[in-house]
């Protein structure tokens, strides 16, 4: 009886994220992107198209701003005042940051986006009714809405044979976004379970991380002390969870985009480095 449930677990259900929420995480998938190594080559983005059945929208719809690239490389020029960008371009691979205090989650009227025990920010396509509030409330603007039925236009025969059967092709009216390649996570977890062991770094990589020619991206389980990504987060003295970061070495690289908004993202970026000549 749920009322009983309420009364028994009242204090538990009143716990916020800082006390770990109402359940303990099995994993907390996290990423580290070294912007000094990111050359902005788009390999990750295209890998994402291939892995996640992303729709190709075509020129006109791209022009209307309806592109579906879950992982986009943002390019900025930092030396606006100078005649030439002598320090080159700034590339930023921007995908869903899988925030732990995600702003998209509480606003969804039907709970189509929620937080999994893996610390992922999941989007349930079947449940989505397309109110698009989540996207409006995402400071990173990394949620993409199916404004049309792309399966009709994007994969003319036999291109559709390339579609990855591990995940769906989304129909019009639902929101979608980067999932950290949840289908790969799924497979890896099942495999590990069958061999009854923990999921390790080598079990899988998201498509983007796998493809990165300069290995600028690192992915893993933040809760696993031994994982490479955890070591890196620790090395760069960024913690997941607390609203305020206190680095022993303030000059140490490592930041999260829009840290100030306190959404607690799971993607750690390392500043790109430039040498003044």
């Amino acid at each position: 009886m749920s009322l009983e449930n309420v009364l028994n677990n009242w204090s538990k259900y009143r716990r916020g994220a800082e006390e770990g929420g109402h359940h303990d995480y099995e994993h907390k998938w996290a990423m580290m992107i070294n912007l000094d190594l990111c050359i902005g080559c788009n390999a990750c983005s295209t890998a994402c198209y291939a892995e996640n059945n992303l729709a190709v929208v075509g020129k006109d719809r791209f022009e209307k701003g309806q592109a579906m690239h879950w992982l986009r490389i943002e390019r900025y020029w930092d030396q606006a005042e100078q005649e030439f960008p002598e320090q080159g371009a700034s590339f930023l691979p921007m995908m869903c940051q899988q925030c732990n205090s995600a702003t998209c989650e509480p606003v969804c009227p039907v709970a189509a986006t929620y937080h999994t025990p893996d610390g992922l920010n999941a989007q349930v396509y079947n449940r989505c009714i397309g109110s698009r509030y989540c996207s409006n409330n995402c400071p990173f603007r990394v949620r993409y809405f199916n404004f049309y039925s792309y399966y009709e236009s994007s994969w003319p025969e036999p291109l559709n044979m390339q579609l990855n059967p591990d995940l769906t092709v989304r129909d019009k009216g639902v929101m979608e976004k980067c999932t950290f390649c949840v289908q790969r996570i799924r497979v890896a977890k099942d495999k590990a379970k069958m061999e009854n062991r923990k999921v390790g770094d080598e079990d899988f990589k998201p498509a983007c991380v796998q493809s990165c020619p300069t290995s600028a991206m690192v992915f893993g389980d933040y809760l696993d002390e031994g994982s490479q990504v955890r070591k890196l987060w620790d090395k760069y003295q960024v913690k997941m969870g607390p609203a305020k970061q206190d680095k022993q070495e303030p000059d140490m690289r490592g930041y999260r985009v829009f840290e100030g908004l306190n959404t607690d993202p799971s993607v750690l970026y390392l500043e790109r480095v430039r040498e003044k000549v």
Partner: protein, 474 residues
């Protein structure tokens, strides 16, 4: 000056005439009526066509894109919700403060409330990507154990609007029962049947009146906080987000003020129309118009003030995103909308400050229309700019409504108009019994003080009389 203390209504007016006039307004429509009905239907047709296209082809044709997920539909939704606050204001608030000049005009105001709600209700549904699943927002028991997310302001909307709609419909209906009885008594044939059913067998007994009075007062008391909460909740669709320009503490009062404002403006519009169409000069008098205008002016100033508060708090605040946005509103691509909103919303209402203008029906008609245009701009300025430039500059984008969106917005006015046109022919758009009360009391208290005096004396006598025992038995 003579006109200054002109009466709200001529208390010598015969009750029979009141009945007659109002019933006349319901009888045999004029050609103008049918033309307007046809126009409304045409407008609705546009909207339906557009919606069917959008439904089959996809939301993309509404010019929505990655940053711009809401825009026109939600803006219009807020607009109509705002419109709906007038009726409640007039009937409920003025009722409990015993401002009886409301009596001739509150009925259509309340009708307006209900109908604009029924219009507003469409927009959240239209804007859904998969509207056929809209009922998922409601907390029904599902064998999958699904519930809506009660955290989401959109769910609050669903609750608030359904509550508000049912409550205001009841309020409208209850208030109409005695008049429906009058209709019943004067109608023939199928209309008689209809009104007999609707009037629930009202015969004006003292018991009915007593309960009626209490019910009406109780409902009024519920409706006022409800109306306030409804638009506060609508405002939290924005205020609960973290987006610059939306995450504003003053939004709830700001929205409520804006709502009352547009509501009053709409009342003035319809006031003039009804006065002209149904020759209600004797009931919708210039004096009442003046009072309405003064009210509107006051609210306009409140709205203006809240605007300034918001600007100031952003300007002196440290949120660079909001500040950036504020500046962009004033000088960016949406600037002309912004400034016309300021003009229509804050400058134009000063016409209401001049008695000569207040008493000039055509002028008031035009002004009131522009006030509402300003309010529509306000809604657009609330929704669009934030979407066009939020935190991540990479995704900044300017967007204007597409033909599809405009067609649907256009049609919503047709829908509202149609409902209203039907209403004025089926139901008395002026409350007969309350006008009678108004006349009755004024005649007693205002005109014939002496009689009132006498009346009271008698009353006290009769009271004391009851205290004497024994007489009963004698």
């Amino acid at each position: 000056m003579s006109i200054v203390n002109e009466k709200d209504i001529n208390e010598q007016i015969a009750w029979a005439k009141i009945n007659a006039d109002v019933l006349r307004s319901m009888a045999n429509p004029r050609r103008a009526y049918w033309i307007s009905v046809a126009m409304c239907l045409a407008m609705i047709a546009c909207a339906v066509t557009a919606e069917v296209y959008q439904y089959t082809e996809g939301m993309g044709y509404a010019n929505l894109n990655n940053p711009h997920m809401w825009d026109m539909y939600i803006a219009t939704f807020v607009f109509w919700i705002g419109m709906s606050h007038s009726g409640t204001l007039l009937s409920a608030i003025l009722h409990i403060i015993h401002a009886d000049w409301r009596k001739p005009i509150y009925r259509f105001a309340e009708a307006m409330t209900t109908f604009s709600l029924m219009t507003a209700g469409f927009f959240p549904i239209i804007h859904l990507g998969r509207m056929w699943n809209m009922y998922w927002v409601l907390p029904y028991v599902s064998d999958r154990g699904h519930w809506p997310n009660f955290r989401s302001p959109l769910v609050w909307d669903a609750f608030a609007i359904s509550t508000y709609l049912s409550a205001s419909m009841l309020f409208l209906f209850v208030g109409m029962i005695p008049d429906l009885a009058i209709c019943r008594d004067n109608a023939k044939g199928w209309q008689k049947k209809l009104y007999s059913v609707l009037s629930l067998g009202w015969t004006g007994t003292d018991r009915q009146w007593r309960n009626f009075r209490k019910t009406y007062m109780l409902m009024a008391c519920f409706l006022i906080p409800l109306a306030v909460s409804v638009h506060s909740i609508v405002s939290s669709d924005f205020a609960m987000s973290i987006m610059p320009g939306w995450h504003v503490t003053t939004f709830p009062p700001y929205f409520v003020a804006g709502a009352l404002y547009s509501g009053c403006a709409a009342i003035i519009t319809l006031f003039v129309l009804l006065r002209y169409y149904f020759r209600f000069e004797e009931y919708m008098t210039k004096a009442i118009m003046e009072k309405t205008c003064k009210l509107t002016f006051a609210i306009a100033m409140v709205w203006t003030y809240l605007n300034l508060v918001e600007f100031a708090s952003v300007w002196y605040g440290h949120d660079i995103y909001s500040k950036e946005l504020l500046i962009a509103k004033a000088v960016g691509p949406y600037a002309w909308v912004f400034w016309s909103m300021i003009f229509c919303g804050s400058v134009l209402p000063f016409t209401l400050a001049f008695q000569s203008l207040r008493r000039n029906m055509p002028v008031m008609f035009v002004v009131s229309l522009f006030l509402n245009v300003g309010m529509f701009f306000e809604r657009w300025m609330i929704v669009a700019p934030t979407l066009s430039m939020s935190h991540n500059p990479h995704q900044w984008d300017i967007m204007w409504g597409s033909i599809i969106e405009w067609a649907i917005v256009f049609g919503s006015f047709g829908w509202f108009g149609l409902l209203f046109l039907v209403f004025v022919k089926v139901f008395p758009s002026v409350s007969m019994y309350e006008v009678k009360e108004m006349v009755y009391h004024r005649r007693r208290h205002v005109v014939n003080d002496e009689a009132a005096e006498k009346f009271h004396r008698r009353a006290s006598d009769s009271k004391t009389g009851t205290d004497e025992p024994g007489l009963e038995g004698a």
